[in-house]
Structure formats: C-alpha cells, structure tokens
Subunit: 332 residues, 2 copies
Amino acid sequence: MTKKLGSIRDVAKETGLSIATISRVMNGATNVSPETREKVLLASKKLNYLPNPAARTLTTKKTKIIAAIIPTIEHSVYAKFIAGMEQTLAKRGYSLVFAISNSDEEQEKDAAEKLLGMGAEAFVLSGGRHDPELIELLTRRGVQFVFTSIWAPDGDVPTIGYDNFALARGAIHHLHRMGHQDIAVVHGPEVLSDRTTWRKRGAKSAESAEIRLAFFEEELSVGGGKLAAYSMLKHKTKFTAALCLSDVMALGVYTAHSENNLVVPDDLSVMGFDNLDWSVHISPPLTTIDLPARKMGESAVTSLMDYLEDGTPIERKFFDAKIIERASVKKL
Amino acid sequence: MTKKLGSIRDVAKETGLSIATISRVMNGATNVSPETREKVLLASKKLNYLPNPAARTLTTKKTKIIAAIIPTIEHSVYAKFIAGMEQTLAKRGYSLVFAISNSDEEQEKDAAEKLLGMGAEAFVLSGGRHDPELIELLTRRGVQFVFTSIWAPDGDVPTIGYDNFALARGAIHHLHRMGHQDIAVVHGPEVLSDRTTWRKRGAKSAESAEIRLAFFEEELSVGGGKLAAYSMLKHKTKFTAALCLSDVMALGVYTAHSENNLVVPDDLSVMGFDNLDWSVHISPPLTTIDLPARKMGESAVTSLMDYLEDGTPIERKFFDAKIIERASVKKL
DNA sequence: AACTATCATGTAACCGGTTACATAAGCGAT
DNA sequence: ATCGCTTATGTAACCGGTTACATGATAGTT
C-alpha cells in the first residue's frame, strides 16, 4: 500500500531546477522568484512530494519533538496537563510524544531511552524523584529537562509547578480557621509520588496544640478513600474534618459516609485537592484546591521551546493554586 | 548545553573497526564476534554514542511512530483509549504521537499534516466523519489508518470499535424491560461526533407504541446534563427514565434532581453511557454501559503494527459493550 | 562604458546511519 | 593439497534533505 513518494530530486528534474531551489521553496526562503516558486509548488503537488522529515532532521538536527513522561493519564489533572502541553506545542509546530511510567522509575527510564531514540529534544518529567541513571543519561546527552507539579526553590533542575507543601499547610490552616481542630488527612502511597510526600509534610507542619492531625494512607482511588473513611470512623478520635490529598479520595469519603447515613458536612467536613471537573457537581459540592495543571503544561513546554530556539535559560516557575470554597466544609 | 554526541564513525575510529561492524552491533546482528561486540559496546559508552534516529530512519524508512488524533483528552474514555495505545506500542518499541482536534475537522487535518511531517507511519482516527481532504492526503501518501469508537460493517476504512447504534437501542430496550415507557434521551451536540448520531439513531429505532422518546440536546458536560434535566422537568410528559448518552451528562441529571429534592431512581431512573470511574461511586451508583476503550486502543495499534511489519491486512473489529446494572434504574 | 551591488539559481559537500557485495580467514571434506 | 563453505569484517553507495559558496544575470552608479 505504501506508495513511492517523490523526492526532492524528482521535483528538481520535473521543474528543471536544482534541488537547492526546491529546498528553498519548501522552506519559504525569500530569495526565490515568484514564478519559480509557483512552478515548484505545482510540481510538488503533482509528484505528491513532501519533504522527508528524517532527511531534514539529519542536517538541521532539529526534530521539534518534546517528550513528556507522566505517571498516569487516567486522572484528569494529568489529562489537562497533557492537553495544555500538546496545544501549546502545536501552535509552534512542535509535537508531543509521551509515555506513561505508572509511577515506576524503571519504566520511566526505559521510556526516556525510547523517546530519546525517537529524537526527543527536551523532556518534561513529573515530580522530582527519578532514577539517577535517567538524570545522568539526559545530562550526558545534553538534553534539557524540567520537573513539573512540584516546586523547589533550588536544585539543579528547574521546577515548574506549585508548592505542594505550602498548599497542604494552607489547607489545614483553612480548616482550622473554619473551626476544625481534629483533622484526618487522607492520602495515597508516598512511594508513588513525591507530591504526596510534600503535601503530607506541609500538613504536618501545621500541627500544633490546637491542630491535631491523623494520617490515613490507602490506594489513590475512590475505593481507597472509602477505606480510609472507614478507618477514620473506627478511630478513637472524633474528627470534624478530613483533608483528602486528592479529590478522588474525597469522593470515596463521601461514599463511605452516605453508606453509613452520615452527612457531609454535618458529620464531617471534607476538603479535597485537584478541583476535578465533577467536584463542583457532587453533593455537597466539594471544597478543594484548584491546581493550574493546564497552565503548568503550557508553561513547561513554552520554556523548553524558547530554550531550544534561542537558548533562553529556563527559569523555575511557581504557580499559585487557590482554595475553592464550596459547601463540603462547615464552619464550626 | 547540547553536547556533541559521538557518531558511528567516531566509534569506528576508536575501536579500529569499520562503521558497518558498529552498525551491526548496534542492531544486534548475530554475525559479530563476542569480543568485537564487547569492544564496540564499551567504546559506545565511552563516547556517549547512541545511533542517530534520523539517520537510521533515512535509510530504513521506518520511524516506528504511530499517530492518533482524538477529539479531547479531558474525558476519561479517551484517556483510557490513549493509555491502551501507548502501552501496547511501547511493548513493541513504537511510540505514540497524538494531537487533539477539539472535534474540528480543520484542526484534525492540520494536525495530521504535522504528524505526517514528523514521520508518523500510520494513523488512528476517532469516529468516521473527517475532512475528505484528510482522507485523500493519507490515501495519496499510502499511509494506513483506521477509524475507532465506531463500527461499520462496510466501507473502505477498517473500523475498530463498538456499535453505537446497537448499544443505544439495547439501552432503550433495557429500560423498557424495566417497565419504562416514557424515556428522555439526553445527549451532546451531534456536530461534534458521529458517535452521538449513531447513538441517537439507535435509540430512535427502538421507538414504538410502547416506547415513547423525547430528545434533549445540551453541551456535553455535567452542566449540560443539568440543563437537560431542567428542560425535562418542564416537559409536558412525565418521564420515568432518562438515558444519557454519556455518564458526564448523567451526573448533571443527578445534580438537577438533588437540587429539586427529587430522588434517583424513585422520581427518575437514570442510565448512562461510558462507565466512567466514578460512576459506581456516586449515589445511587449509575447503571451504564461499559465501553472497552482501553482494549479498543490496544487492538487498533496492534493491527497497525502488524500491518506495518508484515503487511497483515487490517480487519474490522467489533467490541461488545455490556450494560452494567446498578441502582440508578428502578424496576416499575 | 566600466564597475559594483543585488538577486536568483546552481554545485557539491555533508549529515549519520544501513546494507549489498566483496574479501579474507578458518576449517572440514575429499 | 585443494576446494568449498561458513563466518567475521570491510568498502562504498545510498537514503533525501540543507547550506556555504560559486556563478551569472540584471540593474544602478558614476
């Protein structure tokens, strides 16, 4: 089925011009006479000619491919992140290739090798914890990369993200301002992501005589949130609020409560993290933290493209994330 | 920052071998002595050598890149679909590049041109409605492609998907078996996708003296579902069930009802379409249709890889999708 | 009329691999 | 000892572009 495509030399023969001129036309060089341009374009159509990207890359050394490795795509925060990257890249003629690491450093490294072998010119990585071999590989090859979804004021690699520590700390303070003192913190496994680690630490940093926390770890899913809620209900402390470090788990807490005829927020205030699409539509609407995932994606790839084109150094970037107050948190 | 990378000739010089031998080692050819192989591998490490993908592609004419164009990624059905494709491709050393079309034929065509210019060897398209120029472009260049998420028994292009018509028809029949006769069908805009068209037609085909339908079109979102529910409530007919052609809209119907102190399924039975993750966790759990998006993705790219490697012709594939009965539909 | 700047186009080297074909060495069979 | 086969390696052409440099034509300047 694959048909033979015309090459630049075919077009040159057809038009009686040299390949250099054809190349000029295809690249929109200005010093080509209008008639010549016309003739070349016509012949190109006729011969079904499109410049071969591999040949072009071979000399220019530019692939215009940027790679992203993400832990999972089945979480709308990442979906937004990817959408932001893809659309920003597309506007400037770049393409996104990506791979899913399943939060596994080994898989991430393998994926990076494959993407590098495809010609990726720069990488967007998630979080700040990676196989040292991966970092070394990218550094050795001189491939620029950034860490996203996290914020670190220093370190060799630029981070483009939000401050998980401060956000979680802020969330606890928010609950405290609403009158809560015994707060359950529901979260997923730390091994999967250093974002979780930072969020936990941030929450922990807010502990005081007036603010007492207990941590419940379960799988990062609705089911996991449900399990955590059951543990919470059995706990000796009567919690008045739960901070879920992901909306998905908050939904599980809702479910567990409705299964037990308990009412959010009367029996328990619930706060989430992520502001997923549906969080405003469940009942009661979930108080949560809106993460600027799309913007973060846009920003990460814009920095990388600027770097690739002009060598603009990549700056660390910090995005603010706002608490969205809704009905799931009750003022005591 | 980009460092000069070693080329195959550098490695040849370093080892005193010819470039042909280096190439053989890099490609795992068998007829190389173990000592030579060792020496080459060592020198490669030392010189920081990795074969240049563009140069390789230039001669082999294989990029191992498969492209997918999807309407949106911010819908977990597509996220699953993409995840299925990516992971299946990765296992065989292929990569996925993709673009988002926003359900716009123009954008889809532009994206395809870009992806083609990147070296995509085959395409996965969503649905069966596309710019004729796009189809012509792919055909002219001899690039294989498939349509997904739909099912058509004939036509030139293989479809890999499920039968939206039959599924919607089956859903209506299911509701009828549960005793419902006045059914509202809630759906998104048809212009965005021919899946919607097929689903609407399938529902329509089930109409009879005993089964009376009314269609409510709104934006494909939770908010849209809510609006549709409000229209439904104002409608002269008292509907006992709503079939939402997407779970997302079903959630909107739930919200509208709880805002009006109406109870699902007592006041209205609700059925969805897609079986999104959270559909089992909302209350009441949503009866819906489970779409095999991940499998579909796996299957589509497997067919394409087989075609690219052995010329295996691509067969149309049909996936069954099951109704998942949960508490949101009440037997009358 | 001679000189020069400008513009359109051509020439040819080069990018970094793969691979068909050639060659040489080693070994067993006759 | 000779022949033929196998195996490891080398030679060189080729893939399809880009681009520095060369060339020739045209127009403007004095």
